[in-house]
Structures are given as C-alpha cells and as structure tokens.
Subunit: 341 residues, 2 copies
C-alpha cells in the first residue's frame, strides 16, 4: 500500500500538504490539490486510518457494548442497531460490536478500546462493563438505568419503565383483569428491576396481593430453560398450580409466541380465555400474528438514534441542550390479543 511519502514525492509536495488535501483541515490551492489527487489515484493511495487515529486521538468508532455469555440479538436489538448504525454514519462514525468476555472484565482488558465512546446495552445492577469504561475514561451512554456506586456522571437513554408498566396494567385492569402474570426480563437487568417495582406498586394501589406465580424472570441464555421461557411458566402456573390467570404480560415477542403455544396446548385460546400483552417486539410482526398482538411501541430505533446523539454530544461533536437522562416515549398499539373480562 502506498503511503503519504510516496504521494508527496510523486506530486512534488510535502507530506503536510498531502495530509491537508485529504483531511481538508487547511485550504489548499486548486493546482496543488489536483496534483496530489492525481498522484494518489496513480498510486492507489488511501490515508492510513490507524496512523491518523494515533495522532488525532480519535478512532471514529463507537462501541456497542453487549454483555457476553448472556446475550442474544432479538427483534428489539435489531431495530435498535438499525437506528444506531444509521445515526452514527451521519457523523462519520462506525460501530464496533464489543462483547466483553466476563473474565476479561475482571483483569482489565489487554488493550485500550479503540473507540471514542460507547453505548452499553442491557446494563445489569452492578455492571462491570460500566466500571471498566469509567476507569478507562471512555464517554458512554447506557440504555437503561445503572446503579454503579462510583459512577456519577452517567448518561442514559431509556424508556420510562415505570410508566410503561403502569400503562399496561391500567389497560388490563380497565378491561377487568386482576389476575395477571408478568413474564419479566432477566432479573439481573436494571430494566427488570424497574419493571418489577412498578408492577408491585400497581398491584398495591389496586389492592391486589402479590403472589409468587404472578412474576417470572427470563432465564439466562446459558440456561436450558431459556428457549422455553413463556411456555413453561404458562403451563406450570395454569395447569400444575391451577392458578387463576386472565392476562399475561410478556417481555418480548418471542416469549409471547411461546405463551400462545402453551395456551393452545392447554386447549385455551387468546383472547377468549387469556389476554396477552407484549412489552417489546417487532410491531409489524406482532401486527401480522394471529391474533394480532397488543403491545407497546418502545420506539427502539429512536432509542438507538438518540443514544448516538447523546454520545456525540458527550464527545463534543454535537452542540445543543442535552439532558443527562433522556426518556423515549412509548405507547400502546392495540391488536386483538386482549379482551374485556
């Protein structure tokens, strides 16, 4: 690969001038620009990104940090990533998928991250990834609340998980449901913690006793129970425990499909015998399911877009007023999976 010296020599100018032509940081006369570009073309020259990064101290990449060993892209992440990639590309940024192995988190990783900032997906209660980013002084934005004791200035982009649970429960309670079963996210995630609190609050406000069968947590990806989340709980609670349940709130679309399968196997049907509400899923798929699924529009793509913007702001690339904590609104999209009692 040709380097800047080769181009400078061929064009009869200095390295600094070649640099200017490509970086556009200082004006260059048209004549010189042409000479440089022609020489570059001839030599098939492209500036070395790494060498540039070393001196500018910018990698022009942001990390999308996903937890190792307990993570799986689902339809929510799908939309989210589409938003992230699109918005990042507006600022000339690329996206580095960063799956930090748990062991490496313990013994700080072998080399600094080649990223200018990071977006942390699915934070857990005391998330080591966040401590590591904090330690390495890498600006970051978390998708969801964090509780790390020593991290004060974290920026977050989140849905209003409390309001979401209140909205869902109100919607169901208005339809006469009081026997609800909540299939929450994995219990380590802060989103699950927020939702649980909200769920309990709603139950209390409506004088509904919280019973053990009413709330469940998604098993770890490594667990053999992972793939049957939704099915197993539905069968267990309805058929074995014989508890009365009239409405099920499912964490995501996959879980909802799993629940529907269980309901069918029990000889029951949605929404006649049970109402089903999906918190996060692919709306166009949910809309086309039979029956179409009622769920929340979390605007996951917008979450991605705004997390990039907030990060760009922290990197000093985007001006304007940005709150430390940004909330993306959400609303109920009605399908045919919930009925009045």
């Amino acid at each position: 690969m040709a380097k800047i010296d080769d181009v400078a020599r061929l064009a009869g100018v200095s390295k600094g001038t070649v640099s200017n032509v490509f970086s556009q940081k200082r004006p260059t006369s048209e004549k010189v620009t042409d000479k440089v570009l022609e020489a570059s073309r001839e030599l098939n020259y492209v500036p070395n990104h790494i060498a540039r990064s070393l001196v500018t101290k910018k990698t022009m990449a942001i990390g999308l940090t996903i937890p190792h060993g307990n993570f799986f892209f689902n339809t929510f992440h799908n939309q989210f990533i589409n938003g992230v990639i699109l918005e990042a590309s507006h600022y000339g940024y690329r996206v580095l998928l960063d799956m930090v192995p748990v062991e490496k988190v313990k013994t700080p990783s072998l080399a600094s991250y080649p990223i200018d900032g990071a977006i942390v997906l699915g934070p857990t209660e005391e998330d080591e990834r966040i401590n590591l980013l904090h330690l390495n002084q890498i600006p970051f934005v978390t998708i969801g609340k964090i509780f790390n004791a020593n991290v004060k200035d974290a920026s977050t982009v989140n849905n209003d998980n409390f309001q979401i649970i209140r909205d869902i429960c109100s919607y169901l309670i208005d339809k006469g449901h009081r026997s609800m079963m909540f299939l929450n996210a994995n219990e380590l995630m802060t989103v699950a913690i927020e939702r649980r609190e909200a769920f309990i609050e709603v139950l209390t406000n409506h004088q509904i006793d919280l019973q053990e069968h009413m709330i469940h947590y998604k098993p770890a990806l490594t667990s053999s129970k992972y793939m049957n989340y939704g099915y197993d709980e539905t069968v267990h609670v309805l058929s074995e425990l014989k508890e009365r349940v009239t409405a099920i709130i499912a964490d995501d679309d996959r879980t909802a499909f799993s629940v529907m399968n269980a309901i069918k196997d029990l000889g029951l049907s949605v929404p006649e015998d049970l109402s089903l509400f999906v918190i996060c899923g692919d709306l166009s798929m949910m809309h086309k399911a039979t029956p179409s699924l009622t769920g929340m529009d979390l605007q996951s793509s917008e979450l991605g877009v705004h997390s990039v913007r907030l990060l760009m702001h922290k990197l000093g690339i985007l001006d304007g007023d940005f709150p430390e904590h940004m909330i993306i609104s959400s609303k109920i999209i009605e399908g045919d999976s919930c009925s009045s009692l």
Copy 2:
C-alpha cells in the same frame, strides 16, 4: 492516560520490557513482570491499541460489511451476527459494523478500513463493496455468490440456494401443488438470482409454464412498498388478477406473516386454502406461530461461525484445509402451514 514510558520509568525498566510483559512475545523474568504489573496497576495503565496496531499492522477487528440504504437487520441477520460475534471473540477479534454509504464507494473512502478482513453480507451482482475491498487488498469472505469480473480469489460461505429451491418445490409438488407463487429476495442480490434460476429450472422440469405472477422480488428498503411485501402481492395476484395459487414460498418470516395477513383478509386460511413455506426465518418463532410455519433451517448462526473461520484462515490465523467455497447445509423443518392438495 498513562503511557508505556510512565510505566517503564516507575518500574525502572525499559519500554521494550513493559511491552513484552503485555504482549507476552518474549519471556520476562517473574521479578520484572511483577514490577511492571504493579507499576501498571498503580498508574492504571493499559496499552494503547491504536499505537500497537500501527506497528503490528493488525487491528484485531473484522468488518461486517452491510449495504447502505437498502439494508435492515432481520431475524436471519440476527442469528448470523450472533454466530459471527461469538466465533470472532474466540480469536480475540472484534466486529466492526461497516455500512458503506453508496457515495463513498464511488469516491474510494476517505481512509483505509481499520480492519484486518471483512465479511460481506448480501452481495449484489456487481457489488462495489467487493471491488473496493479487492482494491484495498483486504481479505474478505462473502455470504453468497459474487459475480465481480475482476475478483478471482473470493471466498464464499453460502447455502446451496439451488438445492434449497429444488427441495422446497419438490416438497410442495409432492403434495400436489403446481400453482406456486414465489416471493423472492431483492432482485439485486445474488441469492435472488440463484433462487430464480433454480425455480425456473424446477418449473421446466415439471412442465409448468412460468407466468409473471409466479415470481416477485422484495422492494428496496427505500421503497414505500417495502413494509407490505407479501401482503400486496398476495392480494394483487389472488384477488385482482384472480390467478390460481395453491402455495406461496416466502423469502423470510416477516414476509410470511404479511402473506398470512393478506390471506386472512381475503377470507381464506392457511393451510386449508393455501400452503405457505418460509425460506429463512427465526425457527423458534415460526414454530410458535399459528399455524406453525413450515420452513427451511438455513443454519444462519453456522453461516456466521464458518464465515469467521474461513476469514481467520485467510488471515493466516487458523490452520487446516479450507475450501474456497463453503456450503452450509439446510433442511426442511415441518410445521402445519403446508397441506396436500
């Protein structure tokens, strides 16, 4: 951030020795190692990845190159990426999502890619991304066949698209279907080209006349028709053209859901009135749909894993015998969406 000189000074050794302790490229005495590690801890030192890359000429990142402007992560890519990330991390590699804007492809990008190799998703017939990678001498693997005239030594990982279409058609023809409608991928993609050829071949072998309504292509993402692909074609062909169709082959699960919606709106049902076959989708979701969808298991996660392995082989990191073109097997997973005529 502390740098290598700081650590060397504090530990009372040379920079080269500090370097060795972290890179492990030469043995270091235990005593010196301890001194260096302690100094590093004290200074919170981590080697600078960029500076290292500049001299080693390795970025320890592979690019996942996705076409800009006409791309959307779907459930297939989901699984695929999960495979890629997992396998790449085995070799200490990170994954850079690279969405090359179309304009940038024209005027070769501003700086070289900070990647050691690339995996090209969804190649089109004369794919500019591939010419660019070739020009920049970056090793790459394509997911799907490519036809670039000047690129000879390309490695590909692919499903056997010809066999897949033959298998699907045989399956349907055995059930008595001769009036099939094929909702193919976007016509620019090589996968769509291979499938079309195979489809026509099968029809010819069974003395079925190819008619215009029998094959459709997914609209570009930028098209307003994109979101209704499947629905629109089904309604148009069945209701407006009033063509006889007994089986529909859908490119992916989203398209299949869309088709089911149309069928329902036409007052028909699956599989009684129409059989439905999905080429690529999330099997666990398809299994849980009502009716459960019959489809192909393309092993998309394996596609991801093997594309990384093949790339690692090209990078000289993985030994062994690797074919230039690797085929991942696929098989039919039966659900309840196809019936005999």
